[in-house]
C-alpha cells in the first residue's frame, strides 16, 4: 500500500498516453464482452437444453412432419416417462423484420415438459381455457409492449391467412439462458383451421427417466419407427439445439479467432506503452534501486502499473459491454440469449489482468535486470 502513491504518480505521469492505452483496452474488452454475449446467444439454448429430454424429428428433414399417432407409441417405449409435440408456425407480426418464433404446442404436456418456463397460475389456467389463447415470452412481450389480454394478429406464411390470438400469459425463464422470445399457442387451433396438417406435428420432445439411458432410449425409438413411412432421428435436446447452431457456421471458431486477434493486438499496444514507459524511466528506476529497492520490487512496481492500466481499461470495457447487453437482444430475435453473466464479467477482468501481466512482463523484467551503474550513466 505504501508504494501506491508512487505507482499512481507513474500512471498519471503521461495522462494522455495512459488514457489512450486504457481506452484501447476498454474498446478491446468491450468487443470481448460483445463476443462473449454473442457466443452465449448462440450456445445459450444448448446450455438451457435439458439433459433428460430427447427430440424426435423426421429422418428426412426437420421440415417434414411426423404423425400425431406417434405420441402414444413413443410413450410405450421403455425409459420414456413423458412426451409432447410442437410445430413451427412461422407467422409474421406486422412486418417480417418483427421476427419471433411461434410454436403450436400441446398445451398441457408441453408446459409440463419445460418447467423452466415460469407462468403465473391464473395466466396458465386462462391459456388452457382459451382455444385462441397464446402465451408469449417476456423478451418479446417487452419488445412489442404486449400485455395480457391483448389481441395479437399474426399473418401466416406457411399456414396462410390472418390468425388472431388472445395473449393469455407472459412467461419468464427460471434462469438467464432460458429463451423467452417464443410465442406458443394451442396445436388444436392450428389443426382445426388447416386441413393439410391432418394429424401431423413438427417434432416430439421426450422425457426420459435416466439421462444416462439417452442413447439407448433414442435407439429404441428410432428402431420402433424404422421401415415406416415416417422414420425418425432421435437425439438429446442439447445435440438437437447444437445442430441448429452448427447450421450457422462455426461460430465459436469465428469468435475465438476474432478474440485472439483482439487479445494479441491488445498485448502489443499495452506492451509497447509499458516498454516506452520503462525506457523513459531508466534513470528513475536506477535511483529506486540505488536507494535500496530490490530487483524484485522494481519488477513488481512495473508489473503492477501494467496490470492496473489493463484492469482499469478492462473494467471500463466490460462494464460498457454489460450496459449494452442490458437492453437485450439488439437483433430482436436472432440472438435470444444476448447477455453477459457475472462469471463472464469476472473472466473478462481476469483476461484484462492477464493482458497486463503478459504485456508488462518483458518491460518489468528489463527493469529488474537493469544495472544501476549503466542506467545512471544514461541519465
Amino acid at each position: 500500500m505504501k508504494f501506491l502513491p508512487l505507482i499512481l504518480k507513474n500512471l498519471l505521469r503521461k495522462k494522455i498516453r495512459t488514457s489512450l492505452t486504457i481506452l484501447s483496452i476498454a474498446v478491446a474488452l468491450f468487443l470481448f464482452g460483445l463476443l462473449v454475449a454473442i457466443n452465449s446467444a448462440f450456445t445459450g439454448g444448448i446450455e438451457a437444453a435439458g439433459a433428460d429430454r430427447l427430440v424426435i424429428r423426421n429422418k428426412i428433414s426437420i421440415i417434414m412432419p411426423l404423425p400425431i399417432s406417434y405420441k402414444e407409441r413413443v410413450l410405450q417405449i421403455n425409459g420414456v416417462t413423458a412426451d409432447t409435440y410442437a410445430s413451427w408456425f412461422g407467422g409474421v407480426y406486422q412486418d417480417p423484420k418483427n421476427f419471433f418464433p411461434q410454436f403450436a404446442i400441446d398445451k398441457i404436456t408441453y408446459l409440463k415438459m419445460y418447467p423452466e418456463y415460469l407462468l403465473p397460475k391464473d395466466q396458465y389456467e386462462a391459456f388452457l381455457a382459451d382455444r385462441q389463447g397464446c402465451i408469449i415470452g417476456r423478451t418479446t412481450a417487452d419488445r412489442f409492449g404486449f400485455k395480457v389480454g391483448d389481441r395479437l394478429p399474426i399473418r401466416g406464411t406457411i399456414f396462410t391467412g390472418t390468425w388472431e390470438f388472445n395473449i393469455r400469459g407472459i412467461f419468464d425463464g427460471n434462469r438467464p439462458e432460458v429463451d423467452t422470445t417464443p410465442m406458443m399457442f394451442d396445436y388444436e387451433y392450428l389443426s382445426e383451421r388447416v386441413s393439410f396438417i391432418n394429424g401431423r406435428v413438427g417434432w416430439y420432445i421426450v422425457k426420459i427417466g435416466n439421462p444416462n439411458d439417452a442413447e439407448k432410449v433414442a435407439k429404441a425409438i428410432d428402431q420402433r419407427f424404422s421401415n415406416s413411412n415416417n422414420e425418425t432421428i432421435t437425439e438429446p435436446e442439447k445435440m438437437f439445439v447444437a445442430g441448429w447452431v452448427k447450421q450457422m457456421g462455426n461460430i465459436r471458431l469465428l469468435i475465438l479467432s476474432i478474440g485472439t486477434v483482439v487479445f494479441f493486438t491488445l498485448m502489443l499496444v499495452t506492451g509497447n506503452t509499458m516498454a516506452i514507459a520503462v525506457r523513459e524511466r531508466t534513470g528513475e528506476l536506477a535511483v529506486l534501486k540505488t536507494v535500496g529497492f530490490t530487483d524484485e520490487a522494481t519488477l513488481i512496481i512495473v508489473l503492477v502499473e501494467s496490470v492496473a492500466i489493463a484492469v482499469i481499461g478492462g473494467g471500463i470495457g466490460i462494464g460498457l459491454a454489460k450496459l449494452f447487453t442490458l437492453n437485450g437482444d439488439p437483433t430482436h430475435g436472432f440472438l435470444p440469449f444476448f447477455f453477459i453473466s457475472p462469471v463472464q464479467m469476472i473472466v473478462g477482468l481476469f483476461v484484462a489482468a492477464l493482458v497486463g501481466v503478459v504485456s508488462g512482463i518483458i518491460p518489468a523484467f528489463l527493469a529488474m535486470r537493469l544495472r544501476i551503474v549503466d542506467a545512471l550513466r544514461r541519465v
Partner: protein
C-alpha cells in the same frame, strides 16, 4: 583519519584492500582501478579528485555497492560487501549508504516530501514516523517550506538539497556524493558544500565526495587524488 597505504588504523568505517576494477572492451582489458587501498574513519569528509577517467566515480560506485569489484575487498561498518547477493546488497545500501548525484536524480512525478520519503518506504516505519523523519531531513537542508513542491518547481540548488535530504533521511552510515556541485553555480555549489560540512560536523556523518572543483574539495578534511586508477596523493583540506 584517512590512510591509503593499506595499513589498518583501528576501527576504520570503510576499509578497502587491493581493489581492482577492470572492464573488457572487445579483446582489450581496461584497468579502471588497480590495487587501491583506503581506510576512512567515521566522521571524515573525504574528497576524491582527479582527471576524467581516473576512476573516481567507479570507486564511489564500488563503495556504495552499485557495482562489484574485479578483485579486492571492501568492508564497510564491519560488513564485507563485495560478495553480497543483489538482494542483500540492496538492503545494505538502504541501511548504510546515502547517495547524492550531480544531476540530483529526483523523481519528477513526486513532490519533495515524497522524494525524500522513498528510502523510508523500504523500512517498517509507520506513516507518521516516516512523516517525522522526512520533515526533519527537509528542515536540516532548510526546505521545510518546499515539501509539496515538485522538482520542476525548485531551483537547482533546492533540488540538490532535496536529494541530500533523501540521502540522509534513513540516517545512513555514510554519504557518497558524485560531483554534487557539478551542475550548480558557485553560490549554490558552496551552499551545498557547507551543508555537507554541517552534516559532518553536527550530525557526525561520514562523507565521501567526488569533485572536480578544488574549492569544494578544499572544504573536505582530506583530498585524495586519483590517476589512472591509483591513489597518487593525499592532501589535507582547509
Amino acid at each position: 583519519m584517512v590512510r591509503v597505504d593499506g595499513i589498518n588504523n583501528g576501527d576504520a568505517l570503510i576499509r578497502v584492500r587491493d581493489l581492482d576494477k577492470t572492464y573488457r572492451r572487445g579483446s582489450e582489458v581496461i584497468h579502471v582501478l588497480q590495487g587501491l587501498n583506503l581506510n576512512v574513519d567515521r566522521g571524515e569528509f573525504v574528497a576524491f579528485m582527479g582527471p576524467s577517467g581516473s576512476g573516481k566515480t567507479t570507486l564511489l560506485n564500488l563503495l556504495g555497492g552499485l557495482d562489484v569489484p574485479s578483485a579486492g575487498t571492501i568492508t564497510a561498518d564491519g560488513e564485507q560487501i563485495e560478495k553480497m547477493s543483489g538482494r542483500k546488497l540492496a538492503a545494505w545500501r538502504a541501511r548504510h549508504v546515502g547517495f547524492v548525484f550531480q544531476m540530483y536524480n529526483l523523481l519528477p512525478v513526486l513532490t519533495a516530501f515524497q522524494n525524500v520519503e522513498l528510502p523510508l518506504l523500504l523500512t517498517k516505519l509507520s506513516k507518521s514516523d516516516r512523516r517525522r523523519h522526512v520533515e526533519m531531513a527537509l528542515s536540516i537542508v532548510g526546505l521545510s517550506d518546499r515539501m509539496k513542491h515538485y522538482p520542476n518547481q525548485l531551483s537547482g540548488g533546492q533540488e540538490q538539497r532535496v536529494a541530500i535530504a533523501r540521502a540522509i533521511v534513513a540516517d545512513p552510515t555514510f554519504l557518497l556524493c558524485d560531483e554534487p556541485t557539478g551542475d550548480l553555480d558557485r553560490k549554490n555549489g558552496m551552499e551545498i558544500i557547507e551543508l555537507l560540512e554541517r552534516l559532518v560536523a553536527e550530525h557526525y556523518k561520514t562523507v565521501l565526495m567526488v569533485t572536480h572543483d578544488p574549492i569544494a574539495a578544499n572544504k573536505a578534511h582530506q583530498i585524495l587524488h586519483l590517476e589512472k586508477g591509483s591513489l597518487v596523493e593525499a592532501t589535507k583540506g582547509n
